[in-house]
């Protein structure tokens, strides 16, 4: 028993002294990746985040996080840059073109990684519809990267989560056009991920086969962050 106790203590000391990989000891990072594999194996478009009724919408839509939402920005000058997985040159998509896609309204819970939630009525275009229309040759890419126009905030997504039917490029929130605090003119709503992946003020979307960097994953959080 003494040997076992020493062994346990030794294992713990070993674990906590491993070099960090993106802010967390590499064995922990490895298990987070393993957990992702398990989650991906079970993932299905049919598994949907619960939807709520209008009366359940949170009275106070909490604003959290403003990285990438600097003052030096005019939504009127905005267009979305789209980088296909094959083509070298990005092309532009306007808000009007995104509004032409079928409008989807959904009342879902936004789960902050801190542990609180809000229920919000969102409206926008399905990311899968957007991809089919404006980046059809990229459907088979493994990942999607999104970043703010100033590149200060950026997220990486696995393609299955990005194409989930509840994943929206969102331009309306609680019955009004998206405001600046919540990422006007266009933000991501992805209820199968923690709030950190719901990037506001999207400037560029890149389809890629290389796992993209992610702002919070660089700070020690799980890259996948799937719910």
């Amino acid at each position: 028993m003494g040997v076992a106790a020493a062994g346990g203590y030794g294992a713990w000391t070993w674990l906590r002294s491993r070099p960090a990989e993106a802010g967390v000891e590499w064995p922990l990072r490895g298990v987070l990746r393993g957990n992702q594999k398990v989650a991906e194996a079970y993932f299905s478009d049919g598994h949907r985040s619960p939807e709520f009724s209008l009366s359940q919408v949170s009275a106070n839509a909490r604003k959290n996080g403003d990285v990438g939402l600097g003052e030096d920005f005019d939504p009127k000058d905005w267009t979305l840059n789209v980088q296909d997985s094959a083509n070298a040159e990005p092309h532009q998509v306007t808000l009007a073109q995104i509004r032409e896609l079928p409008r989807v309204e959904q009342i879902t819970q936004l789960n902050c990684i801190e542990g609180w939630t809000i229920i919000v009525r969102w409206a926008g275009a399905r990311f899968s519809d957007f991809t089919a229309k404006y980046a059809p040759q990229s459907r088979d890419a493994r990942y999607v990267a999104m970043q703010t126009p100033d590149q200060a905030y950026f997220v990486g997504l696995d393609m299955a989560s990005a194409l989930h039917p509840q994943t929206l490029l969102c331009y309306e929130m609680n019955g009004a056009d998206l405001n600046g605090d919540h990422g006007a003119p266009l933000r991501l709503v992805i209820p199968v991920k923690y709030g950190v992946k719901n990037i506001k003020r999207i400037g560029k979307i890149t389809y890629t086969n290389d796992r993209p960097e992610d702002y919070w994953a660089n700070e020690g959080y799980d890259w996948y962050a799937g719910l």
């Binding site: 028993m1 076992a4 106790a5 346990g8 802010g23 967390v24 000891e25 064995p27 922990l28 990072r29 298990v31 987070l32 957990n35 989650a39 079970y42 993932f43 299905s44 598994h47 949907r48 985040s49 619960p50 819970q109 789960n111 902050c112 990684i113 801190e114 542990g115 609180w116 939630t117 209820p191 199968v192 919070w216 700070e219 020690g220 959080y221 799980d222 799937g226 719910l227």
Partner: protein
Amino acid sequence: MPHLEEKHPLAIRWFHWISFPLLSLMIWSGLLIYWANDIYRVGWGDTTLVHFFPDWFYMRLNMPQRLAEGMALHFFFMWLFVANGVLYVLYLAFSGEWRKILPERRSLRDAVQVTLCDLHLRKEAPPQGLYNGAQRIAYTGVIVMAIGSVVTGLAIYKPAQLYWLAGLLGGYEMARWEHFWLMMGFVGFFVIHIAQVIRAGWDNFRSMVAGYSLVKEREVPLESRK
């Protein structure tokens, strides 16, 4: 002549001493996560009797600003926690050891009497074998609580993919609340268990390490094992 008598089989002792640090790690890493949204309390309306937890508690245990680390640890040790728990339950089932800890018909009454006796409100404790009624209820209870922790934990870990599970538990917010109070239940178990171990003395403690208990000739020997 006093002699040594086997009290706890080796497997039980291993499970015991693996469970203790694993559960402690799950509670500690869970608290690192909980800190980021520490909303639970005992109170009503605007009146709060106890807030979980006061600032001095987090400061004392160096808990603030460690959410990412807490999550990485929690989602690492969850595998060992579950594996150990599954093996323990399988061992209990196949070895017959479950007979020693599963509450019996008289366990509840015994537990009340044992508790009254421990509180010095009653002179004599009811006769018992290896474990008394209160112990049987507690040792089976923690297994049920551990299963509850895994189920509520899964619901708050994947509330979208496991929407049906979160739904059964009353939604994400309810499942998080349930997960928290199960943790508090484990803390309560720790407090009482450790106090009782101290009260029971060295021979009892050593038996969970070495497996043997010192039995004096005059005493009634421990319930014979099958």
